[in-house]
Amino acid sequence: MNRRQQIKLTEGIDWPTMGLYLGIVFVGLLSIFAAEYREGDNIWNDILHLTKNYSRQLMWLGVSAVLATIIWLTDSKFFTATANLLYAGGLLLLLLVLGIGKDVKGSHSWLVLGGFQFQPAELTKLCTNLALAKYLSSIETDFTKLRSRLIASALVLIPCAIIILQSETGLALVYFSFFLVMYREGLPGVLLVIAFSGIVLVLSALLVDKNILFIIFSVITVLVIYFSRREIKRNRSRLALILGIWAFCSVFVMFVVPFAFTKVLKDYQVRRIEVMLGKENDPKATYNTRQSMIAIGSGGFIGKGYLKGTQTRYDFVPEQSTDFIFCTIGEDFGFLGSLIFIGLYVALLLRIIFVAERQRSTFSRVYAYGVASIVFFHMAINIAMTIGLAPVIGIPLPLVSYGGSSLMTFTMLIFIMLRLDADRQMVLR
């Protein structure tokens, strides 16, 4: 009996995921240490007294291990059963923050519990993921229907909206990654194309003079009409469609984008986007990105060596143990190290997708895709931001950036998935 229990404890765990998880967490600890350690620091003393970020991160890792164990020992039915409850609880928590939250670096998204700060916006990703999985897997849901799609979108966009109210735009954007899950579950592919075209439109509106853009659109429209004149003869509505797209693009570029940039977005957000596009030259505004690119760029092919980076160690890079943690890796380990590091993430993502696809229940599959989407969005935007490909929006690098809320949330996200995966033979609805 005893022996059987022992076997059962680790039975069904997906070791590749587990290994990649541990590997990335380990790299994270090393990086936070490198960003903070100065010669002559008393490491043991710092660890014992929680005076440094790496020592606190070690503690959060301990807490995460406990959470992971609890989740692993929980019956997987629990998550399906409580998904909606947890979602409701998460929303309440978000609203609570809106009321009694604390301002940290301009975002009103933190709760103070004892001596520790906690960011519910991190945790609600988990709740939303569970609720979305629950909804999409329910018997009543027919995801080919518009109504279901709208409900699913609402599930995702409600927490997103509350988080935007908390001025934590970066974390709010993460919720859009759930549309990738919905795409997997049947959302029309044309939506992805439209979303992509939308981004291109916004970027071109910002980079190119709007009058020139209007002329370009008009020329393209005329050409399209000319080359598809036979089809238009056959089908008059095709002409209306083309002209409609032309009108939409023109209005969007000439009025909507300028309006959004002057009236809707906050000043600093506009500046960050302009920095990314290279339109902004103010050294104050470009400082973060520039220093971060210098740090990463100076790493060269093989890097300066662990603890040898001058840029990260001497505080040239801002937020270097949280949002800009990738700089430490880029500088100390160079292109080669970055490649291996990103490789770990890619392996983890592909493994999660593999795990997702082998699920027999819709709930588990949607949930696992949700995990993959969130990790992917975080990883891609965070790294892109440090190398000047994306505007600076403060979202952490999963499992690597310093921060208890983030580490615990990603740990729970992954371990719930592992639990579900271990029980995939049980037929769940």
């Binding site: 990738l180 997997r184 760029g297």
Partner: protein, 651 residues
């Protein structure tokens, strides 16, 4: 159901891989292709710091530092690296306008090219430095702050001796002599700073440091492998006594003139005051340029070192020298007398003498004690007309040789620049002046120290050394010793110059005569309790062109002396311009200085005398009005005479 959506898994995988490929491509360009980032990283984190050696410190004879160092900062610019900075903000900190900013950048480029470092704003005041340091990250890498030391003068004294340092000028940099200097370096411009530049400057070093984002150095770069050490300048130890210097500056407040005191045994200058003087700290630090132009334009010429640059008729203080020449040539003996009844009339015009009574010049001692004009003009004639020379022209040349060996008429070679030669007319000069037609009557005034003989106060003090030493002197100099000296700079000051071969017994009448001057003659106000002082008052006439007319001005008050009579330790010359009789001002000033030097204190009895001297103001009211400096009095700037007295007398 999952089978139904299988291709979508591929699409999602492609999206992930596509994004990752974009990121990796970008990383490849950043880290492998583009090389500028490692340079930028070094520019961020490696500080190339020119380590200015600390300049040598100057100590007085008792080891007190009278010129030392303080730290200040310069803002330097490398024009090519100035990009995208907030010019308006920088202008606001530096309190300049954009036009000035552009002008400075342009002139930096013209001076040094755009790739080299030029000084943009030097010696920042503390509050400006503070603001700049805080926001330095915004202005880098084009701008940097560089520490440098400035000179500080703890006693606020001896401005004209110590001199000041200034930035090396572009014209200087063109010359090979200044090849060791870079734009923005400082070097000694005047005074000892200039003469001893080569030993004071030391050697620059370069240090590479790792710094953090706030420009705080975090330690050596690559363990200091590329560093070169700075070698500190050598310290100078002066013969100067700063107590005497300060006392001298106090006594000379509100007067024009100078004091030079020399230790006759070594030639070491104990004090050299030129009044009006100024607080030397005005010429260091942030407001140097402004203060300099104010000093430069001042009507009282405080930058002019009267002790070595101004020429005065030596007046009666010349008489002992005339006597020495006579004795050395053998044209007279100490017992030689001259029947003077109040004037010298042998040359067709009367040269007045202050004494009328018969026998006041019955011998050399009496003639000196009574300062008989007739005696010495006659003595001059005897010297140049002596038969052994064969003619006045040769005789006068011989006289000139003597005077010259006493250090008159040419630069002595003191170790501060700017010395004036003074004047002692030679035969060629006479020929020119009188077109060849002249005799011993033509310029007989030189025998009594008027006319074609002009001396600096230092030359007068040096002449006193010769009499005090009975026939020799050492070149007057300030620097006694250079620490770890390996130069030849001081050798010439160790050489003894013997100028006359008169027996000691022949000197004694001259010395006794000078003793009499102080004991019972015109110099009684120079008496020092417990010391035998030998002195000579002088009342030098002087003329100046005022409104186009040659006008006789109030006489200069002159006093020369040495003490004690036996084994003299100090020789001194004091000139107070346009003050009248030598006995009134110059003599008591000299006496106070000597007493302070010999006894280390001033006896309390002299307090009223000193108070009078401190309060006495010989500055022309118009000059005083025009002179804008309230700090003209150097060490005693902004002090009242009572406050000064408290420094010397305890009540």
């Amino acid at each position: 159901m999952s089978v139904y959506n299988q291709p979508r898994k591929r699409v999602i995988q492609f999206i992930i891989l596509g994004m990752v490929i974009v990121i990796i491509t970008r990383l490849f360009f950043l880290q492998v292709v583009e090389k500028k980032y490692s340079k930028l990283a070094d520019a961020n984190a490696v500080l190339r710091k020119v380590v200015y050696p600390s300049r040598g410190i100057i100590y007085d004879r008792k080891g007190r530092s009278i010129l030392s160092n303080d730290a200040m900062y310069d803002l330097v610019v490398t024009p090519i690296n100035v990009k995208n900075i907030d010019t308006a903000y920088m202008c606001e900190i530096l309190q300049i306008d954009k036009e000035e900013f552009r002008k400075r950048i342009t002139s930096a480029i013209i001076k040094n090219g755009s790739r080299r470092v030029s000084v943009f704003a030097s010696l920042l005041p503390p509050e400006m430095f503070g603001r700049l340091q805080e926001s330095m990250y915004m202005f880098q890498p084009g701008f940097e702050l560089v520490q440098r030391q400035i000179r500080s003068y703890p006693f606020n004294a001896a401005a004209n001796i110590l001199g000041y340092i200034g930035e090396v000028s572009p014209q200087m940099l063109q010359k090979p002599a200044y090849s060791a200097y870079n734009q923005g370096d400082y070097l000694g411009m005047t005074g000892l700073e200039r003469t001893y530049e080569s030993v004071l400057m030391g050697q620059r070093g370069i240090q590479y440091l790792v710094k953090d984002n706030l420009n705080r150095p975090q330690g050596p770069y690559e363990k200091g492998e590329f560093d070169t050490a700075a070698i500190a300048g050598k310290n100078l130890r002066l013969a100067l006594d700063v107590d005497l210097q300060v006392l001298g500056e106090h006594l000379m407040r509100n007067k024009i003139g100078s004091i030079v005191a020399i230790d006759p045994r070594t030639g070491g200058i104990l004090t050299m005051v030129s009044a009006p003087t100024f607080d030397p700290n005005l010429l260091t630090g942030s407001y140097r340029a402004r203060n300099f132009s104010r000093l430069f334009a001042d009507t009282t010429k405080p930058l002019f070192n009267r002790a070595i640059q101004a020429g005065y008729p030596p007046g009666s203080s010349m008489k002992p020298l005339t006597a020495l020449i006579g004795l050395d040539e053998g044209v007279i003996t100490p017992s030689f007398g001259f029947p003077c009844f109040g004037a010298y009339t042998y040359c067709g015009r009367a040269i007045a003498c202050t004494h009328h009574n018969a026998g006041h010049a019955a011998n050399l001692r009496l003639a000196i004690a009574n300062s008989c004009n007739a005696y010495f003009v006659h003595l001059y004639r005897m010297e140049v007309d002596a038969a052994k020379w064969g003619g006045v022209k040769k005789g006068h040349q011989k006289w000139h040789d003597y005077v010259s060996s006493f250090g008159l008429g040419h630069r002595l070679g003191v170790d501060i620049p700017g010395e004036s030669p003074g004047k002692a007319i030679d035969t060629a000069g006479m020929n020119k002046l009188y077109r060849g037609q002249w005799n011993s009557c033509s310029e007989l005034y030189v025998g009594m120290g008027q006319g074609q003989v002009v001396a600096t106060p230092m030359q007068m003090a040096n002449a006193m050394c010769i009499i005090a030493n009975k026939g020799y002197y050492y070149l007057p100099h300030f620097v006694d010793k250079i620490d770890n000296d390996n130069t030849e700079l001081l050798t010439k000051f160790r050489e003894k110059h013997t100028v006359a071969h008169v027996s000691d017994s022949s000197y004694m009448p001259v010395i006794y005569g000078m003793e009499d001057v102080v004991e019972r003659g015109t110099g009684v106000s120079a008496k020092i309790e417990g010391e035998i002082v030998c002195g000579k008052t002088g009342t030098a006439e002087n003329n100046a062109i005022v409104n186009g007319k040659l006008t006789k001005l109030k006489n200069h008050s002159v006093f020369v002396a040495f003490a004690p009579r036996d084994n003299p330790k100090i020789a001194i010359a004091v000139i107070v311009e346009n003050a009248g009789f030598g006995s009134t001002y110059a003599a008591p000033i000299a006496s106070l200085i000597m007493e302070k030097y010999l006894h280390d204190t001033i006896s309390v009895k002299r307090k009223p005398q000193m108070k009078t001297l401190l309060e006495y103001n010989t500055l022309d009211p118009v000059v005083r009005e025009k002179s804008k400096l309230d700090s003209l009095n150097g060490a005693s700037a902004k002090m009242t005479s009572d406050e000064i007295l408290k420094l010397y007398f305890r009540d």
